[in-house]
């Protein structure tokens, strides 16, 4: 993966920059020794490593602003980082850039049950929000699998998802307000406890912008009442096609489950061997379908789903009778990634989204690619919203296998795009899928996205090398190409 060529002049100023930052920040905030920096050299996409120039760990928002003000004035690049759990390399450091770690901004600032909101600093973990309101019967809905470690600031930057997105949406649909530090250090407040603030939806723009527009310094989320009841159905199928049809038919029956997950045969076997969840080992595909809400609605929906599953040829079918059984159904799914980790030295997790109706075709295509590349694959994914997570099995110590796994992964994503899908459903573009962006977007599509970037960061200092395959200079993007006639309203000041 080609990163922007590091600026040797900046690297040579390392000691001076560290000293300047120390002059602006409290003791212990600036890390510039190799031993300390090695902790930041990669994120969840461990195939890529790079030691940052310097890491800073501010403890409050004013310190974040101070770092941004200094970097803007000095033209130094910044890579924001939460817990470093990104699976797309969103927090991969730069040799000539400062890694700005937000993990110490970890206070819960306000729990407002009457308005159903929680306001936190960006370094608070996803799970800590739910934990803080659980005793009152509330929770925060988005639940990425890294929720025990990942931070809400990172969730906003990546627009993180989880297994319950089908019914409850992604991060962007569950945040109400943000405070964002802009390059230069100035902070703006977007949204708040009132819904639908007038003006451009800059909060919606920041969500999923992967740290390229600003640094989130405060987040207000909406919390939901814990559903009265949740029940899960476990259905095995002899053919992937039958399971895929069941997914579509449940939705056609007018039911939006809280989660609808699918695992294929290799994933079922790996999970069963690991946690013994009682999964049917003769099945080619397994569905876990969870419905939640008022008890009466859940009971009605569960009955209807059972009917649909039988009609679609389910070879085994169980509905949880109590909470312990429901959690047991989920145990294998939740442990699926580590379970697959036990059967292979390394695995590479992909994240394409496709129209649900193309599931059988895409899974067949992935099997063909698996044979062509000579690498195994296990599929664990959010079937309800068509979000695939093929796990490519490889051995990083075997010469050439990592490259082969990456090429295999790229081919899977190209296949997703060909059937009308996209590169990433919830993990982000980062560095991982950056060079595939041209498969989805044309030059003008990307140019308009970059014009948004230019309004926030014309100098390209915030997280460069991520998301965009080529970063055009903002001046070049700003040029107006008028073929006939002259520019209208020449008196208007232009950016």
């Amino acid at each position: 993966m080609l990163m922007p060529i590091p600026d040797a002049a900046v690297i040579s100023r390392r000691a001076e920059i560290a000293a300047a930052l120390r002059g602006r920040l409290p003791c212990g905030t600036v890390i510039d020794r190799a031993a300390g920096l090695s902790a930041f050299e990669s994120d969840g996409l461990t195939a890529y490593r790079q030691q940052p120039l310097i890491a800073v760990l501010p403890a409050d928002r004013d310190e974040v602003s101070a770092v941004l003000a200094y970097c803007a004035a000095e033209g130094i690049k910044i890579v924001p980082r939460g817990a470093g759990t990104s699976l797309s390399g969103g927090a991969l450091p730069l040799a000539d850039g400062i890694t700005l770690g937000l993990s110490r901004l970890n206070r819960i600032l306000d729990i407002d049950l009457a308005n159903r909101t929680v306001t936190v600093e960006p370094g608070v973990t996803n799970l800590a929000i739910s934990a803080a309101v659980r005793e009152h019967g509330f929770y925060y809905a988005p639940d990425p699998s890294s929720q025990i470690a990942c931070t809400i600031g990172g969730n906003v930057a990546e627009n993180a998802g989880g297994v319950h997105c089908l019914k409850y949406g992604l991060t962007t649909n569950n945040i109400l307000g943000l405070e964002v530090a802009l390059l230069g250090g100035e902070r703006i407040r977007l949204g708040g406890k009132a819904l639908d603030a007038p003006g451009l939806d800059l909060m919606g723009v920041i969500a999923g912008s992967e740290g390229l527009l600003g640094v989130v310094t405060e987040v207000t989320v909406r919390i939901l009442r814990t559903p009265e009841t949740a029940r899960a159905l476990l259905a095995g199928f002899a053919r992937v096609e039958d399971a895929a049809r069941c997914v579509a038919d449940v939705i056609a029956a007018g039911i939006i489950p809280a989660g609808m997950e699918m695992m294929d045969r290799p994933a079922i076997h790996a999970a069963e061997a690991y946690v013994g969840a009682g999964y049917p080992l003769d099945a080619e595909a397994l569905l876990i379908i969870e419905v939640d809400g008022p008890a009466a609605e859940v009971a009605a929906a569960a009955l209807r789903i059972e009917d649909v599953a039988r009609t679609c040829g389910a070879t085994s079918l169980r509905t949880s009778r109590n909470e312990a059984e429901r959690l047991a159904f989920w145990a294998g799914r939740k442990a699926a990634f580590p379970a697959v980790g036990r059967i292979t030295p390394d695995y590479y997790c992909m994240d394409g989204t496709i129209p649900r109706g193309r599931l059988p075709e895409v899974l067949a295509g992935i099997r063909e690619l698996s044979e062509r590349f000579g690498l195994g694959v296990a599929n664990v994914f959010h079937a309800g919203d068509g979000n695939l997570h093929p796990l490519i099995l490889y051995d990083a110590n075997a010469p050439g296998e990592l490259e082969r796994a990456e090429e295999f992964g790229s081919e899977i994503l190209r296949l997703c795009v060909r059937v009308g899908g996209v590169l990433t459903g919830e993990h982000g573009v980062g560095v991982e899928k950056r060079d595939l962006m041209d498969e989805v977007f044309g030059p003008d599509d990307l140019a308009h996205q970059q014009r948004l970037k230019c309004a926030f960061d014309a100098g390209g200092l915030l997280n460069p090398g991520k998301v965009f395959p080529t970063l055009h200079r903002c001046a070049e993007l700003g040029r107006l190409h008028v073929h006939a006639g002259k520019l209208p309203h020449p008196d208007i000041e232009r950016f």
Binding site: S209, T353, H489
Partner: protein, 414 residues
């Protein structure tokens, strides 16, 4: 004098129209079907870019929960097509054109104005359902963003940028959006005679319980009397309404349980037919006081729901207006009659009171003069305004798209 109109019927034609306007220095008033022309600041334009010929549903897969349509497609056509498959737009956009004496709206206009109805706090806003766009920026260049899948983080969320931008950054030519199953049954519990404070507390209580409500509104007696639903119109008192949707038997069961828990006032119950009728009236703004004339104004306030009651009673007292409330208190319509407080003065009062609670006030209906003189959307502060100006100038450098709609054109801001 009527302005010249451009009415492209293809996306290429749309691009050519904007590119041509850019080359000629023609400022465009962008319209879907013109239903919400009166919303926002008056546009200063040389021609109308009319999208009504860009019409038709281009993709609809009920099993994918996705529909795609040209921007000028009538909202009514979308709703009818969805209803035939027992689906709907969960954010419940209204036909609000009648507030300005106009007809039905377009799907593009719904998203451009980010308009959502009574189900908004429970199902999300219009912007939450916009999955993809094909648009033309003020640079005369066509671009696409998003896609036809419901879960997608590939690139910036340009749909969010355009939703609620009132056509000031780019013209959406085609929109792709999420659709959802419509509940087979619904009921609405009516509580009669509650004051706003008591009503909003009751609506909050219903929301806190396990009943999974999907609507929570309050109407003063005068507004209730305008309803075409007999139980509401004949109440002779204020009406609080709480909606439950779901499977037939289950809804009846939940409704009985909730009615029991709300034994603070006389109650009545609407079944599916009447319930849908009442929420459609509220969605479309049909029960809002019809005040017209040079001195009247209509305001839309959004507030933190738990703090709404005190803000609203202060505002009603100071302005002499009639307000009704939705979103468990989070949304209020305030109509000030011609004999009430002057628009500029009302703006100051409403914005000051709303700001204390962290809320907002948008001037929805007033004369052109009033909407030119008074900030329609409110002030966002210098830092955000500067950022918005940079975005505007990057997407519409010559200021040809809806000049003045969101901010005075002289600032070259949206």
């Amino acid at each position: 004098m009527a302005l010249p109109r451009f009415a492209p019927d293809t996306l290429d034609g749309l691009r050519d129209a904007v590119a041509g306007a850019l080359a000629d220095g023609t400022r465009l008033a962008v319209e879907g079907r013109g239903s919400k022309r009166g919303l926002g600041r008056p546009v200063v334009a040389d021609a109308v870019l009319d999208l009504s010929a860009l019409s038709g549903i281009t993709y609809y897969e009920p099993g994918e929960l996705v529909m795609e349509a040209m921007a000028g497609t009538p909202l009514a056509e979308i709703e009818a097509e969805l209803a035939a498959k027992n689906q709907h737009l969960a954010f419940e956009p209204g036909e609000v054109g009648h507030l300005w004496g106009a007809g039905g709206g377009s799907i593009g206009g719904v998203f451009a104005c980010n308009l959502s109805g009574p189900r908004r706090p429970f199902a999300g806003a219009a912007r939450d359902h916009l999955l993809g766009v094909a648009a033309v920026s003020g640079r005369g260049e066509a671009f696409s963003a998003g896609g036809r899948v419901v879960k997608n983080v590939t690139g910036y969320d340009m749909g969010k940028l355009l939703a609620g931008s009132f056509g000031t950054l780019s013209v959406m030519g085609r929109v792709t959006f999420k659709v959802l199953p419509r509940a087979e049954s619904e009921r609405t519990i009516l509580l009669f005679g509650l004051e706003p404070g008591g009503a909003i507390a009751a609506l909050a209580k219903a929301g806190f319980g396990p009943w999974d409500i999907s609507g929570a509104a309050w109407l003063p007696a005068d507004a209730a009397a305008r309803s075409a639903v007999g139980y509401v119109a004949g109440a002779g008192a204020s009406v609080a309404a709480i909606r439950l949707e779901g499977a037939r038997g289950a809804v009846a069961e939940r409704c009985a349980a909730l009615r029991g828990a709300l034994s603070i006032a006389p109650t009545e119950e609407l079944h599916t037919h009447n319930s849908r009728k009442l929420w459609a009236e509220m969605r479309d703004g049909r029960l809002i006081a019809p005040g017209q004339g040079p001195l009247s104004s209509l305001w839309r306030l959004t507030l933190p729901s738990a703090d709404a009651a005190s803000v609203l009673s202060t505002i009603a007292e100071r302005t002499g207006g009639e307000f009704s409330s939705d979103w468990q208190g989070g949304l209020a319509w305030l109509a000030i009659g011609g004999d009430g407080m002057d628009v500029a003065e009302a703006a100051a009062v409403l914005r000051a009171e709303a700001a204390i609670a962290g809320g907002h006030a948008v001037l929805w209906r007033a004369t052109d003069d009033a909407r030119s003189a008074i900030s329609v959307f409110g002030d966002q502060g210098d830092a955000i305004s500067a950022l918005v100006r940079r975005i505007k100038s990057n997407f519409d450098p010559a200021g040809i798209l809806n000049p003045g709609r969101m901010a005075p054109a002289a600032d070259s801001a949206s």
